[in-house]
């Protein structure tokens, strides 16, 4: 335990590195593109356009405010997907660093999640604009948003720890996860309403898929003006914390071997 707190202290001392790694990610990502950071805003809009066309126009549905409904599902999903996929390369892709310099290895998956968080927050500007444009009333419930985001992040950090270390030892994790993410996308209520499923299925989905709970909660507070049920929120939090603990435990167990395996 003393070891553990000491390690957390070390993580804190290296906070500057997280900041710089995130900055590196973002700068490198946009430096060579003409539109630069505008892509953060364009991308969700274009995605929304495509999905609205397919699921709103071609295949009619009766969800009101469908583009917003979709965007509230899509943005958190993108955050999840890019964090999971990005984290898998975070250790293996930085082998040159890991083999040459010591620093707490956790910082790599952490910074992957954070740089995707920055992208998410920028994309939220689009969402905010949409919310205003579609005249969804502003409500004090929006204060729940950071709370849900925090739970979401805890969950993502857990996944990032897990998959970043798994990918070091089994390089086809990445290939497998591409398919898994696709399945996960369809099993998450992004372009459909979870209440449209049969009661049994929706219950099962909430239990088996934390993303379903998280996206539903985002929608409740941002779109439907209803406060999330406390027990529901706590259950999601408990799941996320459990994922984080398992992920971190696994990561710490594997981390000493990274220097030899990457």
């Amino acid at each position: 335990m003393a070891d553990f707190t000491q390690h957390l202290g070390e993580l804190f001392r290296y906070r500057e590195l997280v900041k710089n790694l995130v900055a590196r990610d973002l700068k490198a990502r946009y430096k060579n593109s003409v539109l630069g950071f505008a892509w953060c805003l364009m991308n969700p809009l274009l995605m929304m356009g495509v999905f609205t066309l397919v699921f709103g126009v071609l295949m009619r549905n009766n969800i009101p405010n469908f583009p917003i409904f979709l965007l509230i599902g899509l943005l958190p999903w993108n955050l999840t997907a890019s964090s999971v996929m990005g984290s898998m390369g975070s250790i293996t892709g930085n082998g040159h660093l890991i083999k040459k310099v010591y620093f707490p290895r956790e910082l790599l998956p952490i910074s992957t999640v954070f740089s995707n968080l920055v992208n998410f927050l920028l994309a939220c500007i689009v969402l905010a604009g949409m919310l205003l444009a579609f005249r969804v009333t502003l409500s004090p419930l929006y204060l729940y948003f950071p709370v849900i985001l925090l739970i979401h992040l805890i969950f993502l950090l857990g996944l990032a720890f897990l998959f970043s270390s798994l990918n070091v030892f089994y390089r086809d994790t990445e290939v497998i996860m591409e398919v898994v993410m696709l399945a996960w996308f369809f099993m998450t209520p992004i372009f459909f309403n979870i209440e449209d499923l049969t009661a049994n299925f929706s219950r099962l989905m909430y239990i088996a898929n934390p993303m379903a709970s998280i996206i539903s909660t985002y929608r409740m507070v941002l779109l439907y003006d209803s406060p999330p049920a406390a027990d529901f929120l706590l259950r999601t939090l408990a799941t996320s914390v459990a994922v984080l603990l398992i992920g971190y435990w696994f990561f710490r167990r594997q981390a000493p071997a990274f220097g030899e395996e990457v």
Binding site: Y14, R24, H96, V101, D172
Partner: protein
């Protein structure tokens, strides 16, 4: 302070590990074929370096030196035993590890600084010094993908050194950058050492180990062969390495080398080697006996098994009692050799041999342009003699052309009188 206490490090050889689920799955059925191939890079290694001490790790390639460095810098963990390190470490393992090509020099300084564990405030404070030391003021806002490799290395060194370490770990990195900068780096390292910091050096340049380190540890096959005073350990190592070489060479050309095998000193990586050393007089006739004032030509025959860029040929003359007389090379003489390939010879021409009577030992060497990496070094392998034939001067070993002059109130007779008043003017050339 660095303590190695019974440290062992095992590596599982890479091709044995299941790198994918697919292999892992197959291996469940093939358990028998899964022999674990182990490799112990270090076996029960113990040594310690006091605060302010300096230690050099020497040994052949694959002897475990780099593994030891990685253990010190916490890049890997020991399998057994304990590595204790007290103080902040700066590692010059690979300069500019973690630089991102798309970012500017400035951005990379901050990124790399934080990788080395510095806070933003420390970085801001040291930033001007870093830039100045790297001599990159003009390019600091240029993406470093446009940097030359020398600029890259300079920046890397400057950032690494700016950590203000208690312990400086150096792994053969100084063979980069131009020569002026290399000297600057070495000066900086000496400065850090003189400030009472701990230095740990891994190098193939044994001279550097002797110069920089008070102590040395000789690793061989992951085991400590010898440790202690660096000069002694380096000599032991050299003797061992040369004896090993001798055995290898005997198979190649046994007769020619026979007479030198008693005290065989030779090392280097042999991309290009010195195949023969010939002593010639002014007319090109082979001889090993010269008179003071003679022309001496030493022909260094080389054989480059591959194209070697910008080699530096050097020689040295020692008196038989190991007094080092000179050691010129083509670089200090500003005689640049663009490259060598295949066979050839380089002549070291002394138009007027200033040595007096005696036996002298001759060394020949080929180094890379930094003069750090030896291709082939023949240390005092050759002997030549100087005998007095015409030269009358006898004391010491060096003839320095001179004139004598006398000033006196008494009238000077043109011919010297050896008994009474010395009145001569001598000119020897």
């Amino acid at each position: 302070m660095v303590i190695f206490d019974g440290v062992s490090k095992r590596f599982i050889l890479r091709h044995e590990r299941s790198r994918s689920f697919q292999e892992a799955f197959v291996n469940i059925w093939n358990r028998r074929n899964r022999s674990r191939e182990e490799f112990w890079a270090l076996k029960d290694v113990s040594f310690n370096v006091e605060k302010g001490g300096s230690i050099g790790l020497i040994g052949e390639n694959g002897s475990g030196k780099s593994t030891a460095l990685k253990l010190i810098t916490r890049i890997i963990d020991p399998t057994r035993g304990k590595v204790r390190v007290q103080g902040k470490i700066a590692a010059l393992l690979e300069l500019g590890a973690g630089f991102h090509p798309d970012l500017t020099g400035r951005e990379n300084i901050f990124l790399n600084g934080s990788i080395l564990g510095m806070t933003r405030r420390e970085m801001t404070e040291r930033f001007p010094d870093i830039v100045e030391f790297a001599e990159l003021e003009a390019f600091i806002d240029t993406p470093i993908k446009h940097y030359s490799s020398g600029m890259y290395a300079r920046l890397g060194f400057s950032v690494a050194i700016s950590v203000e370490p208690d312990i400086l770990v150096i792994d053969e990195v100084l063979a980069v950058g131009d020569e002026a900068f290399q000297r600057k780096c070495l000066d900086k390292i000496r400065e850090i050492k003189d400030a009472g910091k701990t230095i740990i050096l891994v190098s193939h340049s044994l001279q550097m180990v002797k110069d920089l380190c008070a102590e040395a540890v000789w690793l061989n096959g992951g085991v400590v062969r010898a440790q202690g005073d660096s000069v002694k350990v380096v000599d032991q190592y050299l003797e061992w390495a040369n004896r090993k070489n001798k055995v290898r060479l005997e198979g190649v050309h046994s007769k020619a080398q026979e007479e030198r095998q008693e005290d065989y000193r030779r090392w280097g990586t042999r991309e290009v080697e010195i195949s023969r050393v010939e002593f010639l007089d002014g007319e090109g006739r082979p001889t090993t006996v010269f008179d003071t004032g003679d022309t001496m030509v030493v022909r260094l025959h080389y054989w480059a098994r591959q194209r070697v860029e910008r080699p530096v040929f050097g020689v040295a003359i020692h008196r038989i009692d190991n007094v080092h007389i000179n050691g010129p090379n083509t670089k200090t003489s500003e005689y640049d050799i663009e490259f060598v390939e295949g066979e050839g010879a380089v002549d070291y021409v002394v138009p007027f041999l200033p040595l007096l009577e005696g036996t002298y030992q001759f060394s020949a060497a080929i180094y890379d342009y930094s003069c750090i990496h030896p291709y082939d070094h023949h240390d005092r392998l050759y002997t030549f003699n100087v005998q007095p034939k015409t030269m009358k001067e006898r004391y010491g070993f060096l003839h320095i052309p001179c004139q004598w002059r006398i000033e006196t109130k008494a009238p000077v007779t043109p011919r010297g009188d050896p008994v009474g008043r010395p009145s001569f003017q001598v000119r020897r050339e």
